[in-house]
Point group: C2
Chain length 471, copies 2
């Protein structure tokens, strides 16, 4: 317990390192991690805990900007500890009465916030956004061709899904798994801000229909992974309505903005979706994992996935069986992911989440305002960030004098990886980089930890310059 609490305190302390980096081989050799036949004593076990935490990334550190999920909420953490202690499964009310009710209450609230009348509909907490998106694809297919459950894809025409070229790779992964195939996922062009272009969507739908294929799903993104872009949901909804296609919104990253009166307009049209992925473990700071898939039509998940296993879902039990959620899931045993979100919501209130989100977006704008005209920085796209994603190149002095040609691009592409490697070796901060399309490696800054401050943003800029000026 002391070891854990010490770690928590350290995570919040800016004078500690974000990471004590070691290469995989070093780490494997530095310590004996092997599993043995003989038991070890308590002292040794505590030492393992200390060692594990010593080399862990402090994801709650205010200068850890590497992923969409950062921060460490103390109520969320306590709730996760309670969940571990209760050590049960979500499949029936019988063995998880409170958690099953809390899932019911929480999903309903989330549907109300999306804007579905009376919070009607269905949903589930699933192990991550990729699985939530896969659920959406599965349910959309079942809605159009229920016979696919028994007969498989052989019984249906070629199905086509549409999503933007900036969307998350889980759409393709899902299509591969579900037997649809990645070739049947059409990537729609985006504008320079990373938003899906509706006219291209419509053109590609018509094209697919002309070939005799059946468009069955459009997955719009609310908050893309790299640019933080919001697809124009209203325009997408119109097209889906016109062509009778299931509209899914992958709001894994952007869903949190629905909690903010100031920012929720960015998701206008989400209320017209048939399904929505929303990960409270990202922008709302809930400990990992907490991802919801919300579905507008009730009963569909159940028909799609149920197998009537009588040994698990006995029909002659003495309570109202509509609370047994197991048969609508792909999983059998399902981890309790709801309690941390529910307890944090009670502790912060919706207003607390709103303040959290507004603050993170304000910090992103602060960063944007500093670097947009600062020497040595180039923005990857113009304009204020819509989410907390700020994408930029740092151009070291030696490159600033070069003409904008291939050699410069090639040298620029190597800058971010080196700065990142140095950041990790010093352990002072972490931020992500990646190439995208024809754009060479650039930094993608994201902020989801409300413990971050203006000073932490200032520190990041200074650190990039300190570590990159000689390149």
């Amino acid at each position: 317990m002391d070891i854990l609490l010490q770690y928590v305190v350290k995570s919040f302390d800016r004078s500690t390192k974000v990471i004590d980096f070691h290469y995989p081989n070093e780490l494997l050799q530095e310590y004996n991690w092997e599993l043995t036949d003989q038991p070890q004593n308590l002292e040794e076990i505590l030492m393992h805990c200390q060692t594990t935490l010593k080399y862990a990334i402090k994801t709650g550190h205010p200068r850890y900007f590497n992923q969409l999920s950062t921060g460490l909420d103390m109520v969320g953490l306590a709730a996760d500890w309670l969940t571990s202690t209760a050590n049960t499964n979500m499949f029936t009310y019988e063995i998880a009465p409170v958690f099953v009710l809390l899932e019911y209450v929480t999903l309903k609230k989330m549907r109300e916030i999306i804007g579905w009348p009376g919070g009607a509909g269905d949903g589930i907490f699933s192990p991550g956004g990729a699985i939530s998106n896969m659920y959406a694809m599965l349910i959309a297919r079942f809605k159009m061709f229920p016979e696919v459950k028994e007969k498989g894809m052989a019984a249906v025409p070629r199905l086509i899904a549409f999503t933007s070229e900036h969307s998350h790779f889980s759409l393709k992964k899902g299509a591969a798994a579900l037997g649809i195939g990645t070739d049947s996922v059409i990537l729609i062009k985006c504008d320079e801000r990373g938003k899906m272009i509706p006219s291209d969507l419509e053109r590609r739908i018509i094209e697919a229909k002309q070939k005799g294929f059946v468009p069955f799903l459009v997955s719009a993104t609310a908050g893309t992974t790299v640019y933080g872009a919001f697809d124009p949901l209203l325009a997408v909804a119109d097209i889906c309505k016109k062509y009778k296609i299931w509209m899914h919104v992958d709001a894994a990253w952007g869903g949190g903005l629905l909690m903010s009166r100031k920012h929720k307009w960015k998701l206008s049209g989400v209320e017209r979706a048939n399904s929505v992925t929303w990960n409270p473990h990202k922008m709302m700071g809930v400990p990992l994992q907490c991802s919801a898939l919300l579905v507008r039509e009730e009963g569909l998940m159940q028909s799609c996935n149920q197998m009537h296993a009588s040994y698990l879902f006995q029909q002659d039990k003495h309570y109202d069986l509509s609370y047994d959620t197991g048969d609508k899931a792909l999983q059998c045993g399902r981890h309790v992911d709801v309690f941390k979100l529910w307890l944090m919501w009670r502790a912060k209130g919706a207003t607390g989440f709103e303040a959290h989100i507004d603050k993170c977006l304000e910090l992103a704008e602060y960063l944007y305002n500093i670097i947009k005209n600062r020497e040595g920085y180039e923005m990857v796209f113009d304009g204020k960030p819509q989410h907390t994603n700020v994408c930029f190149w740092y151009v070291p002095p030696s490159l600033r004098v070069l003409e904008d040609n291939e050699e410069r691009m090639s040298r620029l592409s190597k800058v971010a990886p080196v700065i990142k490697a140095r950041m990790m070796e010093y352990g002072t901060t972490m931020v992500s980089y990646q190439p995208l399309g024809d754009k060479v490696n650039f930094f993608r800054m994201v902020i989801s930890n409300p413990a971050a401050t203006h000073q932490d943003i200032d520190f990041l800029i200074e650190e990039i310059e300190r570590l990159g000026q000689d390149l």
Copy 2:
């Protein structure tokens, strides 16, 4: 913290109830679970924690026999708390260095125990046995027809999977999801002990081939959910070899027996499988969830699932990228499930798991020996239990005098549900019941909690008789 530790202490105390049962509507009304706009204070939050635990099932209670996952291991719990505190994701070494290495070490050890030379192969911890089985099906299909990833099921002949009629429903669920269709899962007959009959398997494979279909997967079960039966793996392996079919072993429940020198013979032949599902969260008492899918051929998971998302799996990072596990998963973010198993293994040693398993099996035999000749009990199948599953009817005095006809069957079918409902209302113990095939509702006793004793088994029998004798 005090609230959680108090709960743990109570869970181990036989004088406390296993469950304080309330009907869903009662529980919804008894307490205000709604999510609000305004924050609540610490006192209120602590009260919510207390209330949640008050109505929770004490899954660690030595008289909770309801599910395959029971018990509460203190080292496992501490490890799960550490996991929550570290709050990270498994996709890259960059953000989970230690956990990624521990997954590598632990999966290798599990493969060694299965018996694959040098522990070679691949694997992943996935969110439950159903998803592990789905992975196996996905990889088996990809191995035979790699083009299915891009082209979908339309590009391949009709694929057929085989599993026993006693196998877990996740095989059908997986087939429905993957676009194979439940009609293409052939259920093979079992003998009276619930073991797959190899001659029926071979007959059905030949039949499928004659129809022009392609058998691609046999999923044998090591430890069925209800009977705890072990399919004859050696015979299944011979058939799979003969017809060149992927052999999967669903050892979600039975895998733990591999840790016991006394019982591992029941899985003889598992070393010839191409993939194995093994859930340490069941028989090994690891907190939920901890399920492994092990694959004999290295690299196959990666080719099957990778999408090369450059923003997540940058190829120009400064460390050995072979440790990044994310692209072989179906999920993007993946919960850290390995640490609890690893730390428990260090604390108990393999010998500790062996003692745990031997003890639970001894308790099952103890139960079997008491009831096999006791008045008022009928065994669902003859012979000593192979796993900890003991399946039986309790026949109340009023039914003992009846002839063996439909009326008796109909009345007998109502006995277990009433006793179970009474158990839950008294809160004294919990055990599962279900019908199966032509067998009406019977009790399925399982023991996976090493805290259970002979006295707890005696108590269960007395309680069944106390609650059922008037029926």
